[in-house]
């Protein structure tokens, strides 16, 4: 089983290749240029893996939260490949990925995951780190300074009073190797970026209601 994963949720785009025997992660300094470089990234990854797209059994894409531009480009590219190539595709969100990482670090009990946004806010979810299904509640947007909850863990950054969790390659590999995905059209359409914050226009319209 071989997979190709891409994470364009940040300025630095990450990609991971994995199969039954190995996996490797590479970073690409795409800054705001993911739209131009996405195919080049896939070329690099497949070349290093010594295979072609035809050999890939599963396409996987990070669904965020994160840069909506990057997430859309990656999802747009991989979803199209899945459709025309008849490949199964799956989405991996940062919260589930972080929870898997915590499980592999033997963290247990209730946890509060905090993912800062560019403004002084953060997405917050609570979950049971021991849950084998990696379920978590609906993300909420809070002021960074006012987040509270059991076992505060900040994702990919250091925040005062919180431990840090960096979603790991090992956790991703574990998630993807065991992933059941199909190339069913509806399943492909279901792989979309997470929209946690409504646009300004939507918020304004909601306020008017």
């Amino acid at each position: 089983m071989r997979y190709l994963f891409i994470d364009a949720s940040e300025n630095l785009t990450g990609s991971q290749y994995g199969d039954d025997n190995r996996f490797f992660w590479r970073n690409f300094d795409t800054d705001r240029n993911i739209g131009a470089r996405i195919s080049e990234i896939c070329d690099c990854m497949l070349a290093e893996a010594g295979c072609s797209l035809a050999d890939i059994d599963l396409l996987a894409v990070c669904t965020g939260p994160g840069s909506l531009t990057g997430l859309r480009v990656a999802a747009g590219f991989f979803r199209t490949l899945a459709l025309i190539g008849g490949k199964p595709i799956t989405g991996i969100d940062v919260f589930r990925w972080s929870l898997k990482t915590l499980q592999m670090q033997n963290v247990s009990g209730e946890v509060t995951l905090v993912l800062p946004t560019l403004i002084d806010k953060a997405f917050v979810v609570s979950a049971n780190a021991g849950d084998p299904d990696l379920n978590y509640n609906q993300p909420t947007l809070c002021e960074r300074d006012s987040v509270s909850g059991p076992q505060l863990l900040s994702i990919k950054c250091d925040l005062p009073g919180m431990s840090r969790v960096d979603p790991s390659s090992e956790a991703l590999h574990s998630l993807l190797l065991n992933r059941v995905a199909t190339s069913n059209f509806d399943d492909i359409l279901g792989v979309l970026p997470m929209y946690v914050i409504p646009s300004q226009a939507e918020r304004k319209l909601e306020e008017q209601k």
Binding site: I38, L68, R72, F185
Partner: protein, 336 residues
């Protein structure tokens, strides 16, 4: 050769298949007008989201409807600018995946240039040069002399609002709805176009356009007339003022450049008052006028495929590295 075209520069997602740049095999458009109507205009973030949701079902439907296999497609043409960046990137990433998977050439297309090619496509012809092109839409009022593929001499453009934008703003002010162009046309159908005296902006000042003054003039009339305002007359007068403005500038261009072929393009080219006045103008100058069909006036992928076909020889070899750009002037180099 079959070219697949992909368009997502604003609020229409579109996929089309065009043979040899002149015959539309299949052309589908998924419009977001109903979604954006409640905001009174296009919201880029919402548009991007909807493009991503719509593009794959449209791609599948387009291929199925035409009974064309992926292997039969010779090249992929995609709008890479100008337009809204987020929406553009959805189309571009889809096109790049198609090109990467099939190994077929990717041709980045300038959306505004493609609007001009739409008129030739409507006539089932390849572009013939030189010609005078008037592109009128929600974001543009450009008068250009096309001298060859991707070779344009910009004669004039708007210094403020575009005509489509003017119609949108006026329609919003009059609480007529969105989008403004079709509503203003419909409302003005029975009106007297000489009832309200509106200015002819930039009259006698070369090729430069300006429409914000017209908007202000309309608002003054609305305030002055109060309950006595005659909406059909106002809409008819507004369209007359806009079309007369174009008649003056395009007439000057036909005279000065000697061009004997005129192309009207863009969403506002669907306006019947403007179409009629351009027909009369072309007749006066014994010029050939090419008009897009109504389907080809608005944003569509068929024009992207056609323009891609006729400019493929100019596309860079490493076009897979091309990016989407919000501002891409007609004829300007490809974007990396």
């Amino acid at each position: 050769m079959i070219t697949i075209g992909i368009e997502s520069s604003c609020d229409d997602t579109s996929i089309a298949l065009v043979e040899n740049g002149t015959r539309v095999i299949s052309s589908l458009v998924s419009s977001q007008i109903e979604i954006h109507r409640r905001f009174g205009g296009v919201v880029p973030e919402v548009a991007s989201r909807k493009h991503l949701e719509a593009i794959l079902p449209l791609l599948r439907e387009c291929l199925d409807a035409a009974d064309v296999k992926l292997e039969e497609i010779g090249q992929i043409a995609v709008t890479s600018g100008p337009g809204l960046l987020g929406p553009l990137l959805v189309g571009l990433s889809t096109a790049k995946a198609l090109a990467w998977y099939t190994g077929k050439p990717l041709i980045p297309v300038n959306h505004i240039e493609a609007h001009l090619t739409a008129s030739f496509l409507a006539a089932g012809r390849a572009p013939e040069y030189p010609y005078l092109g008037l592109i009128v839409s929600g974001g543009h009022a450009n008068l250009v002399l096309a001298e060859g593929p991707r070779q344009y001499r910009v004669l004039g453009q708007t210094v403020d609002d575009a005509p489509g934008e003017l119609f949108d703003k006026v329609a919003r002010h009059l609480k007529l709805g969105y989008p403004g162009g079709p509503i203003v046309q419909k409302t003005g159908e029975t009106g007297n176009n000489k009832r309200y005296q509106l200015p002819r902006p930039m009259a006698g000042k070369g090729y430069t356009f300006s429409f914000s003054g017209l908007k202000t003039a309309v608002m003054r009339i609305v305030a002055h007339e109060g309950d006595n305002l005659d909406l059909p007359d106002l809409c008819a007068s507004l369209q007359y003022a806009v079309s007369e403005t174009f008649v003056e500038k395009v007439g000057l261009a036909l005279k000065e450049t000697g061009a004997r072929r005129l192309i009207l393009a863009g969403g506002v080219a669907a306006n019947s008052v403007l179409r009629d006045s351009m027909q009369k103008l072309a007749k006066r100058y014994q010029a050939e006028l090419l008009l897009p069909t109504l389907h080809l006036c608005t944003d569509n992928a068929a024009m992207i495929a056609a323009h891609g076909y006729f400019t493929a020889h100019l596309a860079p070899a490493d076009s897979m590295l091309v990016n989407a750009v919000a501002n891409w002037e007609m004829g300007a180099p490809y974007n990396f």
